[in-house]
Assembly symmetry: C3
Amino acid sequence: MKEQELMLVEVKAQKTNLTALINKLQQQSITEGKKVAFSASLLAQGFGTIGPYNDNRVTNLVFRHVITNIGGAYNPQTGGFTAPVKGAYHFELHACNKDGSGPAVMLVKNGFQVISVWGQKASFISASNGATLLLNARDVVYVRLYEEYSIYDNEDHLSTFSGHLLFPM
Amino acid sequence: MKEQELMLVEVKAQKTNLTALINKLQQQSITEGKKVAFSASLLAQGFGTIGPYNDNRVTNLVFRHVITNIGGAYNPQTGGFTAPVKGAYHFELHACNKDGSGPAVMLVKNGFQVISVWGQKASFISASNGATLLLNARDVVYVRLYEEYSIYDNEDHLSTFSGHLLFPM
Amino acid sequence: MKEQELMLVEVKAQKTNLTALINKLQQQSITEGKKVAFSASLLAQGFGTIGPYNDNRVTNLVFRHVITNIGGAYNPQTGGFTAPVKGAYHFELHACNKDGSGPAVMLVKNGFQVISVWGQKASFISASNGATLLLNARDVVYVRLYEEYSIYDNEDHLSTFSGHLLFPM
């Protein structure tokens, strides 16, 4: 009987270990398996320029042509990206301008400017910037146009906004 | 004997759980462990300009200097990147031009233009764009030069094409 | 007793499997769970231009304004990023210039130039490049200014250096 008792202890210990492992792996897959990535270009169709505006308005840009939106965290009606989980997210902006008013946009997190990109006031200018941000769940990131600058796009998708989750925290 | 029967049931249940867990983890590592990333610059050596061409030819660019090619999905003989698994892939293009003909290239997926970058027709222009694409296994992505535009590179590796798997789907 | 002996064999086999699985998962989480990502802009505060210098000095740029530094691999006192583990790392440079001397910087790995970005000698030029590098643990990556070129930044954070671990190797 002693052998059987020892085996019973062993079986219970293994059950505890296995249950703990399964629980841990389930928690990890909830966060680590999160798949979030988007890319969008400025215009839904055709071609055109947004701006320049000189009247103190705040112009949040809405990138209406969705190239990719895995996880659905980017909203092509508002232009806003809402972080679904706390984590490190990489964003990049590529702004094109055609008419000489210069492309200039900023990346905005919860209403505050984070990085910007300015381009020369000449025709057919392309300018880019990007950054990795630590976001809390429900933080909102979007792109805003500077006053007196403009951004151009056409069906070649020259002006784009992209982002993706690097890893949850 | 009743205790022994219960223990037998328990041991069998644990075996089933453990086997299922091991199988699931093996499947995950086949897809989630996939490591795919490349960077290449245009010229194998020296310096030079490709284009401008005005004769309706299709010029797929071959970035011949391999900086990184983990997973071997980028082919430096053809310029094509072939997705090894279905997933979200991030690509970026950086095009430099020296002689004033302007850098202009497009990212092409299975023969269709996805995004583009145009630069000013002035000397020493650098222009960039990037996007995340959802690719099926065996989808092919490459970079194409626009007619009447050109791209320059030298041993400083100014014109580059990079991509990597963000996550499998 | 025969049934009990078989069960004992079974219990021992499961224990071996479970222990091996737990060990393997612990090793994976040490490398795969590694979280490394940084973004920094050039100036700690205010605005200004670094360069142009024409005296053969080597000017490693120190991006002093830390936007993100998860894992602490980027050193904002030296400008150097030191790889904590062997792996594939993605880097990007965005260089702005205001005064017409042109932005031109290179990405340097262990003292050797890897890629570069040159911008036009005109005012308000933004130029970008990026690449994925395979680094060994303790490899050092930083950004160096070209002679006769300059880089500008202000509190809009126009000139940035970012990098992150894609996956360990």
